[in-house]
């Protein structure tokens, strides 16, 4: 057991994977000698050498494409894109190749790769260093998409992603890289992909979230409990395939649902969650589903960032409003 931060958990999972499986290789910009911008790969190059922890030129399309080629030949590449905002040239390889290789070859080629990238706002950085575009990736059949919200889940889910036979996109919320420590058993045990985590039980309202926003979800639930509103907090953790059963089961019990995400509202993954509930649990709903999200804007800089990021009070207000329906 160790008390570690989320970024340390990522590093520990990468080290464990490199140790246990010689097919695992890491590649990306500044991941080697420098240990990564956020230090996620710190020390791995020294320990495992440059054949397995490889610095690449600034070439995002090729980083992703090389990972596809390696994966198709039996390696287990873990590629890093330095910030989510730089991922777009890599999206071509992910969407057009990584996601389809298995289907296109009718299973003769697989693509057991992971593509990691830090993402999300809250570090006062501009535009591409702050956005949350997970919905784009969740929309692509063939890709899996994981977003951890705690050190323990980062550790277990990253190991699962690396061991998974399909391509997994793994987004790490920078805002909580070092926001807190948690006891993690560094025993190489993975956590299941595609399963949600119920972080707090409650009978009055279901609150669905993922990534860094889970912190605000838990804080809001704590505050609402003081008002006599018991909130069930569900961390989806995997957005594709996502655990609809966990959400539907909870909503059937509570009859109310608030969805919280950091990404802008329109076309966000919250819309998918809401649609599924409407399709399959409408008869259980006592109130309209509410979404608490960023507005539909480009992430603004420091001075307006708090207006972009959903706040605990926004969640509380949405919950109170939903509770008023009888």
């Amino acid at each position: 057991m160790a008390e570690i931060t989320l970024v340390e958990a990522v590093r520990a999972a990468l080290a464990h994977a490199l140790e246990e499986d010689p097919a695992v290789v890491i590649l990306g910009e500044d991941v080697g000698t420098d240990g990564g911008v956020f230090r996620a790969t710190e020390g791995l190059w020294q320990r495992f050498g440059s054949a397995r922890v490889r610095d690449t030129p600034l070439s995002e399309a090729a980083i992703a494409g090389v990972a596809v080629g390696l994966a198709a030949q039996g390696f287990r590449p873990v590629a890093e894109i330095q910030f989510q905002g730089f991922i777009h040239p890599a999206l071509d390889q992910l969407a057009n190749h990584a996601a389809r290789l298995r289907n296109r070859t009718r299973g003769r080629l697989g693509c057991p790769m992971v593509l990691r990238a830090p993402f999300g706002a809250g570090v006062h950085a501009p535009e591409h260093h702050s956005e949350s575009i997970e919905a784009i990736f969740a929309h692509i059949p063939g890709l899996k998409l994981v977003i951890p919200s705690s050190p323990a889940r980062a550790y277990g889910l990253l190991l699962a992603a690396i061991r998974d036979p399909d391509p997994v996109v793994f987004f790490e919320p920078t805002r909580i890289y070092r926001a807190g420590r948690e006891e993690v058993a560094l025993d190489g045990a993975s956590l299941p992909l595609g399963r949600a985590f119920t972080l707090r039980a409650g009978g009055d309202l279901t609150l669905v979230s993922w990534g860094a926003a889970v912190r605000e979800a838990l804080a809001a639930a704590e505050a609402l409990s003081g008002e006599g509103i018991e909130v069930e907090v569900i961390d989806l953790a995997t957005l594709r395939p996502w655990d609809a059963e966990a959400v539907l089961g909870s909503v059937r019990r509570t009859g109310r649902c608030v969805i919280l995400h950091e990404a802008p509202r329109t076309g966000g993954f919250g819309a998918e969650v809401a649609a599924r509930i409407a399709e399959e649990a409408l008869d259980s709903l006592l109130a309209p589903i509410r979404r608490v999200t960023a507005p539909d804007i480009v992430p603004p800089l420091l001075r307006l960032e708090h207006l972009y990021l959903p706040q605990v009070d926004d969640v509380i207000a949405a919950a109170r409003e939903v509770m008023q329906w009888r």
Binding site: D296, I297, V298
Partner: protein
């Protein structure tokens, strides 16, 4: 614009031959301004006034100023994440730049772009870019528009040595070449893209060699020698204006500071940094001006003091500016606000 070429026997440095005293004094002042601006930006960052990160160009001033010296306001530039110098060299107001850093309404982008996204279209600066290589194809589009409209304007596209490995670099150079566009691809080769040296990132020893693949001239010059930079860029812009197409100019230089504020400088040695600091482009240009009787030592010192005053006033302006209005949060995502 450079003045007509002087007589053949004149063996003074290019910049002295090609530019008059006012332009030369202005160039030195701009170099001082950039240096002082960067130092003040760094100090502001340390005091918590600037958030996120920022990329300083201390040591690279001769490239920005030399490249922009022969440009007019109708000529365009595209800039990079390390773009403060480009902005100033293209005539930006340092007060509005600081205001942008501090996230104020009086900043160039009304506090929305920050250090990495200053644009000053009125002066021909199409903008800095937080995406490495992002400006390359945009510069080609800008040059195509100049060609279509017959404006005679050239576009100078700044990019780093790291950017030359992005696909966008290769796509942009090829397109500019097949359409013979008035664009100058200006590589600031400061030896590193973040922690990765050009030796480890780039298959050719000189970025300029890549010009051959796109059938355009490519030259490598000492980027700490403003005269050499101006000479190469002026030749390239003349070629562009004459309809002969694009050029690649590689300027060898060095950033004294780390890549950004979180850099631990583990990939390079103290000795290397100090060797480059000894090749400071600013005193070098000042000495050239003094040697050729353009300025006295006292006038050089006065220019430096003038730059300090301008920077101080700029900081004052930025500090006094209002914060962005909350009511404006959703403005300018679209031309007309979404319902």
């Amino acid at each position: 614009m450079p003045e007509p070429a002087a007589a053949a026997e004149d063996n003074r440095p290019y910049i002295i031959r090609a530019y008059g005293p006012d332009a030369l004094r202005g160039a030195l002042l701009r170099m001082f301004l950039i240096r002082n601006f960067e130092e003040a930006a760094e100090a502001s960052y340390m005091r918590g006034l600037v958030h996120g990160t920022m990329h300083l160009s201390i040591g690279q001033e001769a490239v920005a100023v030399g490249a922009c010296l022969g440009l007019t306001e109708s000529d365009k530039i595209t800039s990079t994440h390390r773009g403060h110098g480009h902005c100033i060299a293209k005539g930006a107001d340092v007060g509005r730049m600081f205001a942008e850093f501090f996230g104020k309404e009086t900043g160039y982008c009304r506090g929305r772009g920050g250090s990495m996204h200053i644009a000053d279209p009125a002066k021909g600066n199409l903008g800095a870019n937080g995406i490495v290589g992002g400006g390359l194809p945009i510069a080609v589009g800008s040059a195509l528009s100049a060609k279509r409209l017959g404006t005679g304007a050239v576009t100078v596209c700044f990019f780093g040595d790291g950017a030359n490995n992005e696909g966008a670099f290769h796509e942009a150079l090829n397109m500019a070449a097949i359409w013979k566009l008035p664009v100058v691809f200006l590589c600031e080769n400061n030896r590193y893209g973040m922690s990765t040296s050009t030796e480890r990132s780039t298959a050719v020893p000189r970025v300029a060699l890549r010009a051959a693949a796109y059938a355009m001239p490519g030259v490598t010059v000492d980027g700490n020698d403003i005269s050499a930079v101006a000479e190469a860029v002026d030749a390239a812009t003349a070629r562009g204006r004459a309809g002969e197409g694009p050029s690649l100019v590689e300027c060898l230089t060095y950033r004294w500071r780390g890549h950004s504020k979180s850099d631990r400088n583990r990939y390079r040695s103290r000795e290397e940094i100090e060797a480059w600091m000894a090749r400071d482009p600013i005193p070098r240009f000042a000495a050239l001006l003094v040697a050729h009787g353009i300025m006295s030592e006292d006038e050089v010192r006065a220019a430096e003091a003038e730059a300090e005053r301008v920077i101080e006033a700029g900081l004052e302006f930025a500090r006094a500016g209002p914060d962005p209005s909350v009511a404006d949060l959703t403005r300018d995502v679209y031309t007309t606000e979404a319902p």
